[in-house]
Symmetry: C2
Subunit: 555 residues, 2 copies
């Protein structure tokens, strides 16, 4: 009280009681003034504000209600600003108490300045409502504006001794053991908001482009791929519930085709299930697929790929145009372990929206891979003959010099992860790459074969399909034109050795071809994988609130 | 060719070949003129069009691509209009052929006028692309505008001898036996477009109101209601796949609470499953729930009900502002059997958006029901004593006179369907009615008890909850505040006799109450039931593309 304050750091703390207190944030200066009622405080404070600001602040509807909205509010708000959220950090000093508060509308926080009395009951994780004035922060490095508390109301306590998120830094592995609380971490909040923003963008994209959103069934007596690992569904006593055996869908494609043949352009965001015992960073037993199906396709897979490119770009546009979300995803906090570097992450987004997406055929991809192997061997030979002073005696080849793949490259093989990543890196140059027209034997029975005149010079059979490869990640989208001719489809099913029983089960799918089956095509995007790529997390388990994988079904 | 034409009915048919033909739609007049190329036709036709129209038509991006967009195009489009769709009806006359074409973007059709040669290959259900001019129809009664074909391209045949939708009129029961083709009926198309429009509106409503869209798990080891009939999930050989028994979710509420306690305001549109053997018009084994959960609720259920009212109204606003969809739903076609009268349907929509939604307590509802019974008895007594000349000797009581319920009315009972319908009809007066504060013993363990001072005079215990009742239909939404205090929740679970095992399984849910559990509440809307109400169909099976009910899991 006796110290001389630093004028630029003076802060006036309002309370709902009969006093205000002015403190200095750089020293111990403190000055308390008494007022008869809380109303006088408001009157005095309102002298400072411009008419425009005070009007805005007093229009009840215009008042921000979330942390996100408050952070976007550039004007001052006198007295009537409020934030409801959880205490993320709290620092109690002699004359003043600082807390950061978040409500999950963003991973960012609002700084609240209080009296020690006001902050006395607050602990990390506690829920509170704080009312006061939204104003410039004297310390602009940390935040532009802050909330000066007039009233602080504790809504729910949090015992700091037991709260599992008390510690500043947690591994993803630890957090996954407490999925119900993990959601409260900054990384989780950022990714959940990314998911929400992406869902909203997708809805807008498809509505604008005259697609109908549909909800295909989850329980199905048809099995799309014919060989997938499926989950069975029974009554709770494990006895059959329906007449036929019923499974959880592995893809909505077959049902979407029926809908596209009634509605022309349809899309869905549907949960999908695979009973795989894969314990990898790319697999979940329950995941979301963004699928679309288009009838009356005139330009073959080109037209279908345009939709894939359109919707993925629109998601990323939605992300980069959302300043709060962008900052959420680019901020590295102490509890963020294992996230991609912000610069690398921005490069990913940039590759999607600002760079051309190349489209090459599988045959061209094989050529590119073979060339890479050849250049790699030449490099190694040159190095081995000691002509290359850079040669260090190892046989490591960087992708700029060529490639040294583990799996040999042959036309007809499945592209391995290393091949996909090479193609995305070198051919895509940081942008996604479409690889089209795969060999027929690598793909499912329902894909439309390319006409003989589009076969390669050796007459090898390919289908009108595509995969989308992302840098560092590989395949994330698959799509194709569908065989729309009844006899050809039935013939292919038999040729592949599908049983009479299976063909009969898919009779309804075959029958779609009998009447007015316009040329149709579609695709499926692994939504969680795309989110992991856009958020810069390695494991898709981080993108899902309650992930189910390899024996794990918590909560 | 020799007849004298009716000038107002002359139509010029363009072709891509070297001729145009002028025919009269009221008589057999026909005149063919030769041109050297198709281009000349365009030049000649363009003389008729205003500069504005032809500019619009020639901006490639502005060309309508769906039937819906074409029907909304008020201007003429010379030559470059196109429609891709299925032939719904076709009428082949001597000098001209008329067809109606739909693509499912609306249940409405575009009328196409062709030469008999152009229409020769077309049959009902066939897929075709027709290019030509979009112009005023000489016969305005049926349609304002029509497409005059220059080029007709058959894309996929349809054998009229076998096509199951050839007949004009089908019962819903028959159509349900062919779900993959049923989607092509006008009623199905209308309802699927309603579903799509509603989904898009919901996304916009929640985005605007700062809710995050989340995707809670479908596979769960927790059972929300504690007693529901659940589906079990196993590997395809019916052996356990996960360590713990896993079920399909019956409600996302518990998981949504965990998310609301991280994100404040969340919503989801999630498939939900009940293994009930109910063969009623209101039950499906797989259905969609629109659920939302809100933390930091300050005004109790009032605040939660405001969100319910907001989102339902926004869906109906989206419907009535969508002229094409509105017409789809109000048009009665020959294949529409069992749909509500258009006037009645408009009254439903009007009740939702233009009338006040009353909110009454359960106790008030019981009073109203008791009064109705009393008035009904008095009416019957008067009638029996022959004082009433209108009495016909029966004991039927209309709701305007009182009520004669099958189930006796007592405080503490579950409201039966007849009670709910009466309340919605008389108390709601055609608008939805909220009934709040039900007896505690009727509701699940997680609902927040009302404080003693809000109990009724007899001190009976109620919970802070609500049901939304719709006229003619009854309950469609349920919601409540949640018990947010650890000890109270645990105590209630024990008081209800939940096993140690069950309580342990819900340990994570209990634990949400330990740290910063702000007051929270939420609701679930039966989305398919709401759509059935808005579409005017009695059975919710009509609102779902591939309905699963009582032993039926087709496709």
């Amino acid at each position: 009280m006796s110290a001389k304050p630093h004028l630029a750091s003076l802060v006036r703390l309002g309370t709902r009681n009969s006093e205000t207190r002015t403190i200095c944030r750089r020293c111990v200066y403190k000055n308390t003034r008494l007022f008869s009622t809380g109303r006088i405080i408001r009157q005095e404070n309102s002298d400072d504000s411009s008419p425009v600001e005070s009007t805005a602040a007093r229009t009840a509807n215009a008042l921000p209600t979330t942390v996100r909205e408050l952070l976007l509010t550039k004007n001052d708000i006198k007295d009537q600003a409020a934030v409801k959220g959880w205490i993320q950090t709290i620092r109690k000093q002699k004359g003043v108490c600082f807390a950061t508060v978040t409500d999950g509308s963003t991973a960012q926080t609002v700084q609240v300045v209080m009296t020690p009395e006001q902050g006395s009951a607050l602990t990390i994780g506690a829920a509170a409502k704080i009312t006061g004035s939204w104003q410039e922060s004297p310390v602009k490095k940390a935040q532009q504006k802050e909330l000066l508390a007039a009233d602080v109301k504790l809504l729910a306590e949090s015992d700091p001794g037991t709260y599992p998120l008390q510690k500043k830094s947690h591994t993803f592995e630890y957090l996954r053991t407490i999925p119900h609380l993990r959601l409260r971490s900054s990384t989780s909040r950022s990714i959940l908001q990314l998911r929400s923003t992406a869902l909203s963008q997708i809805s807008t994209y498809f509505t604008t482009n005259s697609f109908a959103q549909v909800q295909p069934p989850i329980l199905t007596s048809s099995d799309c791929e014919g060989a997938g690992e499926v989950f069975a569904v029974t009554a709770s006593d494990r006895k059959p519930f329906f007449t036929d055996p019923v499974y959880l869908t592995v893809s909505s494609q077959l049902h979407l085709e029926a809908m596209a043949l009634a509605m022309s352009k349809v899309w869905c965001m549907s949960p999908t299930f695979r009973a795989e015992k894969s314990d990898t960073a790319r697999h979940l037993n329950e995941f979301y697929m963004l699928e679309a199906e288009i009838a009356f396709v005139e330009d073959g897979i080109e037209e279908v790929m345009n939709v894939v490119e359109g919707v993925v770009k629109s998601i990323v546009h939605g992300l980069v145009n959302n300043e709060v979300l962008k900052k959420d995803l680019l901020t590295r906090r102490s509890d963020d372990i294992g996230l991609l570097e912000p610069k690398q992450l921005e490069k990913r987004w940039d590759g999607i929206i600002n760079m051309p997406w190349r489209r090459i055929t599988y045959t061209q991809a094989i050529e590119a891979l073979k060339n890479a192997v050849k250049r790699g061997e030449e490099y190694k030979a040159r190095a081995a003959s000691a002509m290359n002073p850079n040669y260090k005696g190892t046989h490591e080849v960087t992708w700029d010099q060529g490639a040294d793949f583990k799996f040999p490259v042959e036309w007809g093989m499945n592209l391995q992860s290393e091949h996909e990543k090479y193609l995305a890196h070198i051919v895509g140059n940081g942008a996604p790459v479409f690889v089209t027209d795969y060999p027929k034997q690598l793909k499912p029975f329902y894909m439309l074969p390319n006409e003989s005149n589009s076969r390669d010079e050796e007459g090898r059979e390919t289908v009108a399909c595509f995969d989308l490869l992302l840098p560092q990640v590989g395949e994330i989208v698959g799509g194709s034109m569908r065989e729309h001719r009844y006899e050809m489809l039935e013939g292919e099913m038999k040729r592949r050795g599908m049983s009479e029983e299976s063909i009969k089960q898919l009779g309804w799918y075959l029958e779609l071809r009998k009447w007015g089956c316009a040329p149709l095509g579609g695709f499926g995007i692994g939504f969680d994988r795309l989110l992991a790529y856009l958020a810069g997390v390695e494991n898709i388990r981080e993108t899902v609130a309650f992930p189910r994988w390899f024996d794990r079904c918590l909560c």
